[in-house]
């Protein structure tokens, strides 16, 4: 028997008046996975999270958390989920430890385990040494985020939902949060949303890209790379004409296409090249061919993996075009890309 997925969402739709924020969204998240929700502003990330956490109801469709239906048993679901909302609202005039104890009591942590639970959460989020007795209003943004995450960890949830946990943080703090998420890997199911792409790429096992209320792509970043930006890409720096480079490659029977070129200084170009062929042998083959060229000089050659950013742009652009193309029959469109 397959284990119950941590989150299963089927054909979820949410409308705000005439606006459809979510349109037939379906996905599953398995136990122990770290999944990133990616999408531009207003794509429906927060709406999905709010529905999953039980604060908002869906217009249609269903969602299960650890096998419990969210609509039928929101109380049970709230015990299984630790949710950190967008912007991480906290009461400004409480002390960190007081606030966390209050939250733990609300999350039905038994009173004899209260201190222990709060201490544990503070230890995980590195709050116990410096910020324990500080007033929340005086904390820096990074510490506030940590308090929010510590709060989400209280009460032994099975799933943690974090809506934009790294927004507005400096690189040090982002790294801290990333380590924290890494610490949770394997113990809990984590779903986080963000538009900071390298963040998601580094910390998540799987990415779900959502745009205009539809899921446009889902998979690991290498799967997505394959789907949206296939082929081998290289960054090349040469001294000489780019046209000569293409000709040389043509003569060596490597089919290639220049995606972009930029003149660095007079006669020196940086070229982004897409070449077809076996990815294992293509690199050496290219080096070998280009070294022998007479009318230009090779300065640098490096394989370039498209970043999640490029995938994201490609995926959201494609879905944008799809929706524009299908505008007249928008009502009949079913979301085929939801998988």
């Amino acid at each position: 028997m397959e284990p119950t997925p941590s989150i299963r969402v089927e054909n979820l739709t949410r409308q705000y008046g005439a606006l459809t924020a979510l349109h037939n969204v379906s996905f599953t998240v398995n136990p122990g996975e770290i999944v990133g929700f990616l999408g531009p502003n207003g794509a429906g990330k927060s709406t999905t999270m709010r529905i999953l956490s039980g604060i908002m109801s869906a217009t249609s469709g269903s969602a299960w958390v650890c096998g419990v239906c969210v609509a039928q048993n929101p109380h049970e679901v709230k015990r299984k989920i630790g949710y950190m909302p967008e912007n991480n609202p906290l009461p400004d005039d409480m002390r960190v430890v007081e606030y966390l104890r209050f939250r733990a009591r609300l999350k039905k942590v038994p009173s004899n385990k209260l201190r222990e639970t709060v201490q544990e959460a503070m230890d995980i989020c590195d709050l116990s040494r410096t910020a324990r007795r500080k007033i929340i209003g005086t904390l820096s943004k990074g510490f506030r985020q940590r308090v929010g995450i510590a709060d989400a960890l209280l009460g032994n949830p099975e799933i943690i939902l974090m809506d934009e946990p790294t927004i507005g943080l400096d690189p040090h703090q982002i790294q801290g949060i990333r380590k924290l998420i890494d610490n949770l890997r394997g113990k809990l199911t984590v779903v986080l949303s963000s538009h900071i792409l390298p963040e998601i790429e580094r910390s998540c096992d799987r990415v779900i890209i959502i745009n205009r209320g539809r899921i446009v792509a889902s998979g690991t970043s290498s799967e997505l790379r394959e789907e949206f930006l296939p082929g081998n890409r290289f960054a090349i720096e040469i001294e000489g004409e780019p046209a000569a480079l293409l000709e040389k490659l043509k003569s060596a029977k490597i089919s290639a296409k220049i995606l972009s070129e930029k003149e660095l200084s007079i006669g020196r170009y940086q070229i982004s090249l897409r070449a077809e062929g076996d990815p294992d042998t293509l690199g050496p083959q290219l080096i070998h061919t280009l070294q022998q060229a007479e009318n230009f000089k090779l300065h640098a050659l490096a394989p370039s993996n498209p970043s999640l950013e490029e995938i994201f742009l490609a995926a959201t652009k494609r879905s944008w075009e799809e929706t524009i193309d299908s505008k007249p029959k928008v009502a009949s469109v079913t979301n085929s890309s939801a998988s």
């Binding site: 909302p85 009461p91 005039d93 609300l106």
Partner: protein, 254 residues
């Protein structure tokens, strides 16, 4: 129920640590102290039929108009606008526990303020022992009746404030809404009564209904020591209705 007490404790703690609570309390006591002094002074110059405490509590509407909106306007609207209501909703707390704790917190503070005014007659007694001899300052029947009136009517007033605060996310709107509603409930009932008295005879049930809404009349009865169940029923049932509606509102508008 456990959640209710956790939330109430939190609510009271927040009241205790926030400076506006103390400012409100000081202003309230200054104003009420001044009123009490003015009443006593008036009594020195012209003899009055009513006891000073009865006259004093007749002015209950002055603090109600500004204290209740100030006390309640931020309770839910404020939490909603900062987003902490959302975080509260993600815990396995029931909506009714949230509303009831907000209500109880505000109500307890409201009653504490009023109980503090009990100090005025004691101070007066201490400073002017003559007046104390006539037992006019600390006449128990009228004091108990008046406080009972404040306790029951206070439920309705605070519930109005909580309801106003639950329907909006702006504290300003909540404050104005509760102020106008309180005005309509307190002054409107009396005005209806005046119209009914000056006009032709009303049919039986309408007359009874209008009498039922006379808050000043209730105070009159209570302060004379007449404790009627009808006002009790009026205040508690309307309070329950408003709190129930607030629960529904935050459930729908989380």
């Amino acid at each position: 129920m456990r959640h209710f007490f956790t939330l109430l404790k939190h609510e009271l703690r927040m009241l205790l640590i926030s400076p506006p609570t103390y400012i409100a309390a000081v202003l309230f006591l200054c104003l009420m102290g001044f009123l009490y002094w003015a009443i006593l002074r008036g009594m020195v110059n012209t003899p009055a039929e009513e006891l000073p405490s009865v006259q004093f509590f007749k002015a209950f509407w002055i603090p109600v108009f500004f204290m209740v909106p100030l006390l309640t306007m931020r309770s839910i609207a404020g939490e909603r606008s900062t987003g902490t209501l959302d975080t509260l909703m993600t815990t396995p707390t029931t909506r009714s526990a949230v509303i009831l704790s907000k209500f109880a917190g505000a109500y307890i503070f409201y009653m504490l303020l009023w109980l503090a005014t009990l100090g005025f007659p004691f101070i007066a007694q201490k400073l002017y022992p003559y007046a104390g001899e006539s037992a006019a300052l600390l006449e128990p029947a009228s004091l108990i009746g008046s406080y009972l009136f404040l306790a029951t009517s206070g439920m309705l007033f605070v519930a109005i404030g909580i309801f106003a605060s639950s329907v909006t996310r702006s504290q300003l709107v909540a404050g104005m809404l509760s102020f106008t509603t309180l005005f309509v409930v307190i002054v409107g009932g009396q005005q209806l009564g005046n119209i009914a008295d000056s006009g032709p005879e009303l049919i039986g049930w309408l007359d009874a209904t209008i009498n039922y809404l006379q808050i000043f009349q209730h105070l009159d009865d209570f302060s004379r020591g007449i404790i009627d169940t009808r006002p009790f029923f009026y205040y508690t049932s309307t309070t329950a209705l408003l709190l129930g509606l607030s629960t529904l509102v935050i459930e729908a508008k989380a």
